[in-house]
Symmetry: D2
Subunit: 312 residues, 4 copies
């Protein structure tokens, strides 16, 4: 049976830890934190981006969301506007295409003005053995993730510089941007590129009033991500088993961190790359962490063996 094939740790699965770490769904920042601010969110019509948009909108921002599917965007925009009472605009944009980006930014400025907040959240990804990828499949991912982020950033950044206006930029990458990972190699490479892009411009464009930060999320259940990264539903338990906090993250939690980083409370946070993953990354990477499975009795045995050891 396939479902047991990819297990990493044994199947305790009760995840008592999770009872200590209940997700908070409420918005954290004070009302009107983003009053009179404009936020531009790519991929803002679905998944994490939609929730970020809702949070920023609730906090007073005028949001503009952009991606390829205009109908999805319009539905989300309307839904959020109605809930928060603040206007959300939908703009069609394929971030791979500089002309489409330019047109979308023109539209952004027309409907809302130059942004105070830019969230590079759009991405594409799917699991595959790397040897099964065509050059075209490779390029599709790096085009969306790395070049797309660059085109949006270049286009908006140039206009901000011209108008001497500052802004807070944020990119959503992933925990495996740091380590790399097999089976999502174009994504790992492109996301690592985005991390470097943000750290680079944090150094170069601070003088123009722009800040750049990154959130690296661990697994959060969205249709977009999980349908392409865990199509059979097998992987979810494996991941939960190795997250010390005992559960997946929620989009509300990411949205609160996004709001903080894009707000003036974080105006001294620049060039930071922030992992939010319940501890999954450090758990996986730490060579001896799988000893969580060792029982009390086994520890007693091992301790006595270690004590008996003499010399090297």
């Amino acid at each position: 049976n396939f479902r047991t094939g990819v297990k990493i740790l044994s199947q305790s699965g009760d995840h008592q830890a999770a009872s200590f770490f209940k997700p908070v769904e409420e918005i954290m920042l004070p009302p009107n934190t983003f009053k009179n601010k404009v936020a531009f969110i790519t991929g803002g019509g679905t998944g994490l981006g939609k929730r970020m948009t809702k949070t920023l909108s609730s906090l007073g921002a005028q949001c503009v969301i952009a991606s390829r599917k205009i109908d999805v965007l319009q539905n989300s925009a309307e839904e959020i506007s109605q809930e928060t009472g603040n206007k959300v605009h939908a703009v069609q944009c394929d971030v791979r295409d500089p002309a489409s980006v330019q047109a979308a930014v023109d539209e952004l400025i027309r409907v809302a003005g130059l942004p105070d907040v830019v969230v590079n959240n759009a991405a594409g990804n799917f699991i595959s053995p790397t040897e099964a990828l065509s050059p075209n499949a490779w390029r599709t991912i790096t085009d969306i993730v790395l070049n797309g982020t660059a085109y949006v950033t270049l286009d908006i950044g140039k206009r901000l510089i011209k108008e001497k206006k500052g802004a807070a930029f944020l990119a959503i990458t992933t925990i495996y941007a740091e380590s790399g990972s097999g089976f999502v190699v174009p994504s790992a490479s492109a996301k690592a590129g985005v991390d470097a892009l943000c750290k680079s411009l944090a150094g170069e464009w601070g003088r123009y009033g722009m800040r750049f930060n990154v959130i690296q999320p661990g697994p959060i259940k969205t249709k977009g991500a999980f349908s392409r990264l865990d199509p059979t539903g097998t992987f979810e338990k494996t991941m939960t088993d190795r997250i010390p906090v005992g559960r997946l993250g929620t989009s509300a939690e990411i949205a609160n961190l996004v709001a903080y980083l894009c707000s003036d409370y974080a105006s001294w946070v620049n060039g930071a790359v922030i992992r939010m993953d319940g501890g999954e990354y450090v758990f996986m990477a730490g060579e001896f962490n799988n000893l969580v499975k060792v029982t009390k009795e086994q520890w007693t045995l091992m301790e006595s063996l270690i004590r008996q050891t003499k010399g090297s």
Copy 2:
């Protein structure tokens, strides 16, 4: 003249960037976020620790601050209690001494109960050529910074495990924990050790309901730090010159990030190491960032030279 001896970048010094990045002094989290919570802060009587304590206390926490100088602690405790209306306790503790730590934690539990929040903020540091350090000077720093953090964490952690109670741990390290740095080598080594300690326990102790995170601050003007790291006042301008955000940080900004990380809003943040430095680290580390000094005319010249280049 000495003051020019340690300049790194030329003296533009206007720091226009700072006008974009005004520090926010207000508290960010909703009132009562830490209602009925107990927070233990080492080094909480001065500098950054004092401000963290004030912020947590304002948000409803019962705070216990601990360090060597009981009079300083008592003054700070009283001052904050009066301002926030929530009790702050002062407990004498030398973190280098396990017995002193144990006594302080006994006292913590006696006056307030097991903590929900533990901030390992106490530290010692001073600049010196490494060849001028005695083994004793070396050990003093690693004893406070690394072993002290470990003793506090071990003592409280064991009691929490026994009582099946969770908690959020936070350590304050420094941006040079990552890169290392000359002239503060015992501090760099010990702080890197603290980062590893926190990442390790983020993996191991999540199952007991504990989270562990780190803030790596850049320069923030406190008497404790600046009197020992910049005794002649020479270095401050140098640092400001290479911070893209154009200014030092404030203790209020750190305190807001501390409060977030120790609150339930961050219950999925575990094993994270968060730089807060206005971008100083990425600016220093990036090989070509000193080209910020190049003028428009020089760029025009260089661009034309580059265009004329043929081949390799």
Copy 3:
């Protein structure tokens, strides 16, 4: 005067340190280490790549070098063949174009067979304020550096897997892949992507007999790099001033490390990212390293001020 505009550290410039660290030009590995091995080196006709080729060829490898300028390649191939007595082949290839890569690999196999060693060394780069870059300029760099490396790796990797043959892959990136850097942002992003690509495949493709490692060089004077990164010759001194070893690197030094990493002596080195820069990176990144400029007398003054400090 422009030349003083970008100085970072003051102009001591004697660089006594360099006298301790004389570069060794001789080849390190035993003769015939690469006997009966085939090595494919992109960008192998110039600069660092040419020297790597010479070293591998001297050690017995049959080398195939590939880049756009076939005349340059042919000259280098002939020169090296004559010197080492081992055949070097020149193959035209634009790594940005998957079809060109495929044709070049066909040719590689035709003339020499499947490779045992693959060095992804080709790259493009130039300094520029990021706001002066068009989307096209951005894409040119990421296409060569990241996608080009991927196309070569995918094409050769698939064939190796099919033939159940192993190989050692090596990529040449840069010290600023880690930190990012302003003014070379497309290169920083794409090189960070290459680092992630190599770490990812080190995990995924080990089972097929392939190893993947990275060298991150600091500044080494080649026409290709320096004409585009230091067109006015201003920057070289600045860099030398902050390299603890007191000098730039040499292509012979890189070539010896390349040969080691691609040899069977390093068969347990996989997923490693190795900085070779004389210490420039850690020197730049470490917050207090500019105190190297402080004189003995100033230290005496500072030490006495620090000793007088009481409390925090």
Copy 4:
């Protein structure tokens, strides 16, 4: 049964990969590379240190090995001297004690002179749940690993500076110095401190002719390490299963890398931290690497499910 309790990946265990990556036992560097050079190796009487000593001695170095057990050291010294024909000296030293270090360095200088090569290889470690550690157990490890390395480095460094002599320093840390790891937390913290110490002095002491580098080994079967880290022999298979190269490392492989880094061939390698682990670290850390267990048929199924996915 305990042995199945700590399995991480399923038990394929055939490790075909290893057939591609045969360890080379021969010495890599040219004869006499260390002719007229003096090397000081802590912990040089056993395990990895003994093999490094043998390699350096074979290459012409006069070696001085130091640790607590003088009989073990003397046996190893004699054995190696006889094999290589070059004198190896044994010196008793407990690196935790500055006076013992000073006496050992006095002895080193008396018998061989100031060293050209210093390898900080001595260490202590054992697995344990962190909550089972006393403050004393914690301190024992940090005293050996971090303070011990510092005392040796400070003592020798000061004498080298005084005599204006350069040297190559190398420290042996571990792959989990970077990520941290549960169940070996004092070791993880102290080793991370050693990494920072080396990076710091790479920046600060280059001007005195000293270089500092680090090797982070993965698992290599020595009695000293495995008896305390895998007392029941359970863990070895787990580790091998997640090393892409399909096998543990050998001490000969480490010794060749040590010799390179301490030789003049590496005189431009400074401040480098080099992982040598067959790819274990990147494999563990990469979130999707456990998909190596997915079969061809499962991939076909998953690919078709992914293709059917529409939207996000």
